[in-house]
């Protein structure tokens, strides 16, 4: 019963998302070209087809899973596509391909990960995760683009392995912490007022901190570094129930960040721009200020799709896509995006709360944190709530690695949800 109900809701919401996206697409095209796009019907059929494919996969492979996450992702992915198409036609074709691959990744994840316990292997995935994380540093395959060494090129295909590393590390961390939570919760080792577990058990946390610093220093990727560390600390805290880790983590990260700020020009520049972009509005502060101008031009109701000038913001289709949408849909549209992420976070945490398995619980919380914090970091950067660090806006920004990875993340959350509901149903039936 629950399953059927959830699937009907999901289908209805997907139809709604497609209608919203189709309307936005038509309006954006009217705004830029003053004509109804000739390809609007094929466009709608294709995205509808893709989403129906994903929906059918859920129906077959995880029928009892949460019914809200996929439609929300569809809405965000669709709106992102509309603005990418509106900003750069060539990128739109690629993004459509990435969307298809993302949904393929979603289906394959549901197909191959039939039970969460298959993934409960801390060390294999940790090695995979760390390997992926460090891959861009390998000479020959690593590429530096816009100052950040986070790309890997294999022949004609390039991708950001960090996007996949974050999922692998979330899984391995959940597995490790579930095994070690007993010892980690016991504090026997005292430094001043703080009590810690034995250094031997704390090792992986320190290792995680070390890696996030490594990422920050050598790949010059502040956003990912912040994201990884937030993930680790949150998961350790949830697993051990000890606030000490939050304090310790914050101190360690602050120390690292301070050191990076003292040592690296690019970090200093970022902080300086954050504190005072108006000192150099034509050069260093240009992007952030243009983002603000863009949002301000949108006001409450926006300029209307296709009627703004988001092309004036550098990197409008990746890091600053939120400003582009905020300009044309206004505060209302920007809030819609925020609400969509809050709903996704809510659905993810509800899955974590509902499931009775510790590994699933911890992993669901971790994956939700990844999604929620990543969107927060980049929107915070664009609005200057935080220093700007270049991470993608999940499901919305242009970018293949990010899109595929986030669909995989979504599939894992649905799998956890399906598993948990199944057990509850069985429990109720028994």
């Amino acid at each position: 019963m629950i399953g059927a109900h959830r699937r009907t809701t999901e289908l209805g919401l997907i139809v709604l998302a497609v209608i919203v996206v189709g309307a936005a697409y038509t309006l954006a095209s009217l705004g830029t070209e003053a004509s109804i796009p000739a390809n609007v019907v094929p466009f709608l059929l294709v995205i509808f087809g893709l989403l129906i494919g994903a929906h059918i996969a859920v129906r077959k492979l995880a029928p009892l899973a949460d019914g809200i996450l996929l439609p929300l992702a569809a809405l965000l992915n669709g709106l992102g596509y509309v603005w990418i198409a509106r900003l750069d036609k060539d990128l739109a074709a690629l993004q459509a391909t990435w969307t298809a691959l993302g949904i393929l990744g979603f289906v394959l994840t549901l197909l191959f990960v039939r039970r969460m316990r298959d993934l409960d292997t801390p060390y294999t995935l940790m090695v995979v995760g760390v390997g992926l994380l460090l891959l861009p540093l390998v000479p020959g395959v690593g590429r530096t683009i816009n100052g950040a060494r986070i790309w890997v090129a294999l022949g004609p295909v390039s991708f950001q392995p960090g996007e996949f590393a974050k999922i692998a590390l979330a899984i391995s961390f959940a597995a490790y912490l579930v095994r070690k939570r007993e010892v980690l919760s016991m504090a026997t080792f005292k430094i001043g007022p703080f009590a810690f577990p034995e250094p031997r058990d704390l090792g992986p946390v320190m290792l995680a901190w070390g890696f996030s610093l490594l990422v920050m220093f050598f790949e010059k990727d502040l956003g990912s570094s912040l994201l990884f560390f937030a993930l680790f600390i949150t998961m350790v805290w949830i697993a051990t129930q000890r606030a000490t880790y939050l304090v310790l983590g914050t101190i360690l990260f602050s120390a690292g960040a301070f050191f990076a700020w003292r040592t690296f020009d690019h970090v200093q520049t970022r902080v300086t721009i954050w504190l005072n972009p108006w000192d150099d509005p034509a050069d260093k502060g240009f992007q952030v200020i243009q983002g603000w101008f863009s949002l301000a031009a949108g006001g409450v109701t926006g300029k209307g799709p296709g009627l703004g000038q988001p092309g004036l913001i550098p990197a409008a289709d990746t890091d600053f896509i939120f400003a582009a949408i905020g300009e044309e849909l206004g505060l209302l549209g920007g809030s819609l995006i925020l609400v969509a992420f809050v709903l996704m976070v809510g659905a993810g945490l509800r899955i974590a709360l509902t499931t009775d398995r510790e590994f699933d619980k911890l992993l669901a919380a971790g994956l939700t944190t990844l999604l929620g914090i990543q969107a927060f970091i980049i929107i915070g950067g664009v609005t200057r709530l935080l220093p700007l660090t270049g991470v993608t806006l999940p499901f919305i920004s242009y970018g293949g690695s990010s899109l595929v990875a986030n669909y995989v993340l979504l599939a894992l959350l649905l799998r956890i949800s399906d598993d948990s509901t199944r057990r509850i149903n069985e429990g109720a039936a028994a």
């Binding site: 949150t234 805290w237 949830i238 697993a239 129930q241 509005p281 034509a282 200020i289 603000w292 101008f293 863009s294 949002l295 301000a296 031009a297 949108g298 006001g299 409450v300 000038q309 092309g311 004036l312 905020g326 206004g330 505060l331 920007g334 809030s335 925020l338 992420f341 809050v342 976070v345 809510g346 945490l349 974590a352 709360l353 510790e358 619980k361 911890l362 919380a365 939700t368 944190t369 929620g372 914090i373 927060f376 929107i379 915070g380 609005t383 200057r384 709530l385």
Partner: protein
Amino acid sequence: MNKRIRRLGIFLLACYIALFAMLNYIQVLEADSLNNNEFNARGTLETLRQPRGTIETADGVVVARSVPSNDRFEFQREYPEGDLFGHITGFFPINGRATGVEREYNEQLAGQTFEQELRSFADLFVDRERTGNVTLTLRDDVQRVARDQLGQRRGSVVVLDVDTGGIVAMWSYPSYDPNPLSSHDGEEARAAFNFLDPASGTSPLRASSYQNVFFPGSTFKIVTGSTGVQSGLVTPEEPSYPVESSYTPPQTTRPLSNFGGSSCGGTLFAITAVSCNTAFARMGVETLGPDRMVDGAAAFGFNQVPPIDLPGAVESRFPVDFADNLPALAQASIGQNDVSSTPLQMALVAAAVANDGVMMAPHVMKEIRDGEGAVVDDEPIDAWKQPISPETAATMRQAMLGVVADGTLSGAAQIPGFEVGGKSGTAQTGNNTSHTWVIEFVGPPGQKPEYAIAVIVENQPGVSENTGGRVAAPIARAVLEQALQGPAG
């Protein structure tokens, strides 16, 4: 673990509430100030994707127009006259804000005023141009003479229609060519902008005529004299100031001298004709005193930004605290010390005297018509101030006519068939150089003057009282002759 997960939920929710607050701050609270920020090119750039109205002079010369371009902006802004009207039209950069008329009348040029939008809504099914074409009060022929006359000397020429306040010519050298600054190639535009050294106080980007201030020197004596007559304490008959070569104000032992140590004195007309420093210093200090002088300068618009329809106008300054500094008041009364004035402000002083004491608001817009010829906006003919009564103005006109008839401007300012009144000025700047000034008005004999002018030529060698008449007066005469003659053909 559930307790922690709930707390995590609260934390993440708080993060998003912070984002929502920030969005409200940017898109609601700060939206207006961001939209009007000087680095914000959006408002003007938006209009480059549609045709944009022309700007033309009163005598029909197009000084700004849009031509189709094959790039993302669709239209390129073009300034056929180059630097001649740069300070008036402004320029249209793609990575900053427009300036000049381009900024001031952006909405009308782009067809975005409420009335234009309304009309276009009514014209939904009719293909009509709704952009506005701006006609300036400036005349190409007069502006051109001003440029040729000033040549390669730093300075400004401002010509006003005394009746309306319309600016007939406003030229400053150096000026700039708006074309490269409006290039769609951002690098090229930025290079052109940086080349003009915008940070420098003497950058060609600044229109000296209304954005820079200078010592007005003896031209300021018209303000002092007008204040005296308006107060009733000075008439053509009295007081008669002593004939002397220097005057030592109270509170000091340092005397204030006439040019070249000459002696002068007498009543209003006599001291105006020869520009007598000692007499005007006495008038300011002894006849009028600090309060009347400060009020008199304020009545003429000092210490206020003139209401001109161009962005970035600056205020002319007259010190306000002389209570313990009468020597400074003595100097200020003859346009020295901390008195400083834009050329526009001194032209306004001459125009007010010419216009029965009414100072009209200066403006450059004559009218704006849409593509169909319907008037979108009318010339803003408004009085800004009335510093003096018509009677005072008549007296001061007499005094200024005397300057041209047989005073410091005799032989330099007369125009056959017309009546010219004026006042010369030479403001010492040190290094044995001075800013040389004239302010004048001109009209048919016995009738109300038509035009007022201010001319300043900066940093000219020599400091004699005659310098102003010798250097600036011929420029004023040539420009006024052109203005009176009317456009050719």
